[in-house]
Point group: C2
Chain length 148, copies 2
Amino acid sequence: MIEPLHSLDDLVPGQAWDLGTLALGREEVLAFASRYDPQYFHLDAEAARESLFGELVASGLHTLSAVFGHVIRSGLITGISIGGNRIDSQWPAPLRPDEEIAVRAEVAEIRPSRSGRRLGVAKMRYTARRVADGVVVLDAVVTHFLRR
Amino acid sequence: MIEPLHSLDDLVPGQAWDLGTLALGREEVLAFASRYDPQYFHLDAEAARESLFGELVASGLHTLSAVFGHVIRSGLITGISIGGNRIDSQWPAPLRPDEEIAVRAEVAEIRPSRSGRRLGVAKMRYTARRVADGVVVLDAVVTHFLRR
């Protein structure tokens, strides 16, 4: 169980949490890609053999969204999150359907509001690694607005 | 109709295309948020009144994914896109369900492979503006690998 954060002021740069694992099933990979990223290497296993990836892989937007949903459901920041306005996301390696990935959250930067308001900005880095080989498939820095 | 690109070498920095409009219906906003961004201001119209947004708004990940899907379906880069590995996305203003947004694509940067390989990197900037008031709700720079 993750202990939920109660304030932006609870956060310290470098602090990190392992948030457990998840996998994206083939059905969900295909459904997401059909709607949001209809490229052949996300939709058609046969055609994907001729792609750069050599096989069907999840849309990076799907990996990002699923990891973000996992983070929110972990409860870590849910009680103090009031929004966000930026994500810088990289996908160093592809993710195949049904591959288990481990999610980690780390505090990258904290900026309390100078005006004494009851909120501030936290940059959180979310990474996902394939459990089988440790390869990073997602490295995303999210700018959150959090309560103090 | 958009003329599909045939090669990375067709692209010139600053070149831009208007790719039409889209809207995210309330059902889809709720469905996406349930799975990928279950925060109350994306899920519960009543509770969202007390949020920073003052009303229910779409998840930024949903706006990004829907605009990306729209770009792919436009056919602009679909014939030459072989993957991508980075997105830097900002959401300067929120998007409400059923609000029409206009999507624009612009060539931000081109880096043909120096090794003479048949691919290169293109950074494309995708923006979405609310049609009603011109406010930008998404400003995303996507790093694509494109065929030459």
